[in-house]
Symmetry: C2
Subunit: 447 residues, 2 copies
């Protein structure tokens, strides 16, 4: 078997399972796995002592070195921040190398489609958990419904990266950072677009965390979802033209959104300007910057209670206090935007501690018509992490990418161009192998 070279760029917290899988299979498939990161140490940590792996420094700003590393590989898997993907794609195109990412297809990425096709290259994106497994598992059920002659009238899908019930039981948010904290703090900025009962609906950031959807997962509990970006663009990709409801969203534990909304309304998640006097600022001082100085209230805590009409014992106040947002602790940054400062404060308690287990919940609802009757299928996936490094998030984001890379190198994926995993030649074998790793959607007909 000819030796193949895989380059993984980005060795952050979501890369652990991806790299472990590739190294574990390297002997069988005759692979060499090169892991690059701006931090050589981070890359080394992921490679460990594996004889099949190699850690290198990888910095997009060093174009020549990036080009050489990409040229030396058969396929590139990028786990770097999404805004860097088009630059990776450009080099991949020039060097005729395949590219896999777990990120949303940007307009810049989309623009590579015809060139990628012309060069017989696969630029597979949105191939992680959400986006990724959600697409694949939804397509499987959509295809099943269609093959029975059913006509889909509604599709709703929510996914969340939470913490396991036994982890951090005193944490009232039931949440910790299990992927890029920055993306969590700025999540939802822009307008969510979706289709509901035949009408286009638009939710701006300022309403997003107020307009949630209740989600009940049998055997696990009650959650709530908020709408995610542009659901409309998947109408065509999923082949769902004519459907009346189409909504993709993010899942949180019940009560999360009401508290997060307070931070959104105050402007704590803004990322467009640098705050003043950060070096000497306390957590409470940070909050106070967003509260009316003319108020008669004696503290930021009281101001928040007055502004949002909350009692001291309200669940929202409990969560904010637990995150020490009203404490006199120094922030510990010299400069920062509100979003950067909020991320830093939240991370003091939302950082996964040794032994913490994260918890992935995905939920789909399909409504379809067959003959003259309306039917409903609900489906869910739950995955519990092993520990604070081998998280369910890293596993569910990384394995779809790793398996896709393997299938591609084996010549089993024929699709080319800038795509997402909604083609059968991708999702059928990927879902099959994911199932062997305990990542399986459970579906049931609802009466």
């Amino acid at each position: 078997m000819e030796r193949k070279f895989i380059l993984v760029v980005g060795a952050g917290r979501s890369s652990s399972s991806l790299i472990s899988y590739l190294l574990a299979q390297a002997a069988t498939y005759n692979w060499t796995v090169t892991v690059g990161d701006v931090s050589l140490e981070a890359a080394q940590r992921r490679v460990g002592k594996s004889p099949y792996g190699k850690a290198v420094q990888f910095n997009m700003d060093d174009h020549e070195r990036s080009r050489n590393l990409i040229e030396a590989s058969d396929v590139v898997i990028s786990m770097m921040p999404a805004h860097l993907h088009p630059r990776v794609a450009e080099i991949c195109l020039a060097e005729k190398r395949h590219l896999l990412t777990a990120s949303y297809v940007s307009d810049e990425m989309k623009a590579f489609d015809s060139q990628a096709k012309a060069n017989d290259l696969l630029f597979l994106n949105e191939c992680g958990l959400d986006p990724g497994f959600d697409h694949m598992s939804a397509m499987l059920l959509i295809d099943r419904i269609k093959s029975k002659g059913g006509m889909l009238t509604s599709f709703e899908s929510f996914t969340g990266g939470l913490i396991a019930p036994e982890t951090d039981p005193e944490n009232p948010w039931r949440y910790k950072f299990t992927w890029n904290p920055r993306n969590i703090v700025i999540a939802g900025q822009g307008t969510a677009k979706f289709l509901q009962e035949g009408n286009f609906e638009f939710i701006p950031y300022q309403q997003l965390f107020l307009r949630t959807t209740p989600v009940s997962v049998p055997g696990f509990g009650e959650y709530e979802g908020y709408a995610n970006r542009d659901s409309l663009k998947y109408l065509e990709t999923y082949g769902l033209k004519g459907i009346r409801t189409m909504l993709r969203g993010t899942l949180r534990n019940k009560g999360f959104c009401k508290t997060w909304n307070v931070l959104v309304q105050l402007g704590c998640c803004e990322d467009t300007y640098q705050m003043e006097g950060v070096a000497n600022m306390t957590h409470a001082g940070f909050m106070d910057s967003f509260l009316d100085g003319r108020s008669s209230a004696s503290s930021p805590e009281e101001k928040v209670m007055n502004l949002f009409n909350l009692s001291k014992g309200d669940d929202v106040m409990t969560k904010l206090r637990w995150s020490s947002l009203f404490s006199d602790e120094k922030i510990g940054l010299l400069t920062g935007t509100p979003a950067q400062i909020l991320e830093h404060i939240l991370n003091k308690r939302w950082n996964l501690a040794p032994g913490d287990k994260d918890f992935i919940v995905m939920w789909h609802r399909f409504v379809y018509e067959i003959g003259n009757t309306s039917k409903e299928i609900q489906a869910h996936l739950t995955v519990v992490g092993e520990d604070e490094v081998n998280t369910a998030m890293a596993k569910t984001v990384g394995l779809p990418l790793a398996i896709s890379a393997k299938l591609l190198l084996e010549g089993k994926i024929k699709t080319r161009g800038v795509v997402i995993p909604v083609q059968r030649d991708i999702y059928i074998p990927v879902l099959e192998e994911l199932s062997e790793h305990g990542i399986t959607l459970i579906d049931r007909e609802i009466d």
Copy 2:
């Protein structure tokens, strides 16, 4: 007297008084006034039959023609949309021509400072009403306070372009479009930054219209102001370092902000995406796009009442109904962003009708310490428009620019570089002549 050539680019609604003034003085000062606009007809309308004026087509995309017209002038006054100013400035710099605008100094504009100075050019910006007259009148009083030995501790300033009490008495908003409607619809997006009682405060868009300041103008009535962009950047420009409160804002009639806040919260002012199905959309359908389709309410009007906890007779609902936002009337656009559609709907009733008079209100409050006592000065300016063309807005925006151009051509303004009118050699003579045109600030000590 040597003939001088003035080029005014942009012949929109705010240009009328500016151009009338220049044409009226042209004989005395031996000027030729060229008026350029993308619409030749608009330029011709402004020039009328004046023998001193010339109307031309002016389109920034025709670079060669723009360059020729700028080269043929001694000073350029740009009334075009602010984003075009840096392109005008670039040509002015190449052709060594002075430039005057009424717009905020952008970072791009600021970057021309040293080159403008090196070429002995004045790039005067923020020289209209607000920004403009507010800077000049504030500096006059700040200088007076300082010259008496007073130390300023607080400066607040609000300006609004409203409608005269006798105009459109049944209009519950007490407001119509008197300058660029687009800027009014998207006003406040971003974060307002100011200083209050020694603390930096930040108000995001979603809180802006909820955190208003009451303003009372003797003899005129009760108003409310919302914070305007970045007040902090004027700390240095005004020479106010060490001041404890610094707030610039926009003035509206009482009750305006609470209603506008409904449109902001719903996302009707977003300008980042195209809506779907605009061609067949009604006003009510537009509103419904932002409201929860799962609601049991029977109409968008009822949904708004439920969401914001308002009764049918509430003043907010009266205003929204008056603007026909819940009507079944077709919008009359084929495509548009929410902001573009909202502007179009509002303009149906907010367009100035023949005989309508607009009304400018500016209000400053200065608190200062002298010896051991704290003193306060309040000052206000009010200007009523003549009719729907010769508006108070056009007069108060245009005359400061026109007078500045005259002083510059007479050699009476020596300041060079990218500046705003906070220098005595500009604001003293400009304020003096404005006073002759009935534009005078009235100030009084408050006990």
